[in-house]
Subunit: 229 residues, 2 copies
């Protein structure tokens, strides 16, 4: 399948790598290809600049947001949450009828740490995306964990869960299938409801951030424990 | 230990029962004792009116918010979240220097289902309580699960976690000890930080509500899964 990943940060790169290794044709999208390919500085987290990363992943091509979204059968929003609506607007009509997997979190760092959510409680980023791009089939997924876990769920000591929210059941099935290919077991892929349920998935982030701070690592996730059946 | 539980709903009753069975002297607090003892109607969830419940728990006495808080060495806020500040104001100076365990969630049902949070993102109910009653040692705990699980954690199929947030370490230790008595294992009691971390614990509620809807039961909880050590 042709998969477009919008965003060239660590989340986009990790997903690009994971889907490429699973046998998909991956095209990454960025606002300005020339600018992205000219970068010489890594990010604040110690990740190398994109050109350095791409030299080790020559099978993954870079294009504009619009070109990537046009080519992709599935489009993944891995841009930073506060810039997602603008990035998706650059993809524009190419999103029509596409499954659009939103893995972004609307984290606002402008007021210092810890970040707050730029949208929460009565709305969510995923709902804003669905509202703005009504022809797209938005599925919120994977935003509740570190990127490394997204493509390597077996790296933890036990099974743990990934959540899906979206209004289109067929789109959720497509995402479920893609998650299987990344190593997720069916029993650990939990459909939490329509796109409005994305509020809960995004509002989980403050707890996640506190846990990361206390555990001293982003390499953890949650698992739902049920009553003995 | 003398434990005061403010609120006579299902959460207060369940905790009263749990702490009473653990050997504590439990006093429940309500706004108007005469009114509460005159109730003849159960609640919308099918729980019986308080007098009917109390007949089966004669060891648990009822008093005003102020009387209960004065007597209790530890005070538990089990009132409904949107009424908690008013209820605690009725307890007033009796909260000074007390460990105040806040198990409430600021759920606002006035706009229909699903409820939103009446405070979120840049503040939390627990922070509002700590700000308003600065002499109290507020610990947010147990708000992330159904009441039955609070006092019977072993009823699920596997271990699962309860979270603590608060600025006073000694108060958190007191709560940790009380949780042990309710059956919680030390490794499943997770300190997520200062009182500001209560935001994350309260903002988890929308996800919890969606999960309850999808699972068809409130009898579940989450467990943190870490990397293999």
């Amino acid at each position: 399948m042709k998969i477009a990943i919008l965003g060239t940060g660590i989340v986009g790169r990790t997903l690009a790598n994971g889907f490429s290794q699973a046998g998909h044709d991956v095209l990454m999208g960025t606002r300005d290809v020339t600018e992205t390919l000219a970068r010489k500085e890594g990010d604040a987290m110690g990740n190398p600049p994109f050109p350095e990363w791409q030299r080790e992943h020559p099978e993954i091509q870079l294009a504009t947001f619009a070109e990537a979204a046009s080519t992709g059968e599935v489009v993944i929003n891995a841009t930073s949450g506060t810039g997602s609506l603008d990035a998706l607007a650059a993809a524009g009509s190419a999103l029509e009828n596409k499954v659009l997997v939103d893995v972004a979190n609307p984290l606002d760092f402008s007021h210092g740490m810890p970040p707050t959510l730029s949208v929460a409680n009565t709305d969510s980023l995923a709902e804003q995306i669905q509202q703005r791009f009504q022809g797209a089939k938005v599925v919120k997924a994977l935003n509740t964990m570190n990127a490394r876990l997204m493509i390597n769920p077996s790296s933890l000591s036990e099974d743990h869960d990934v959540f899906l929210a979206g209004d289109d059941d067929a789109a959720k099935e497509t995402v479920r299938h893609l998650l299987h290919e990344l190593g997720w077991k069916d029993g650990n892929i939990v459909d939490v409801g329509g796109i409005q349920a994305a509020r809960g998935l995004e509002m989980y982030l403050p707890l996640w951030l506190n846990l990361m701070g206390k555990l001293g690592t982003p390499d953890f996730n949650i698992k739902i424990v049920k009553a003995t059946s």
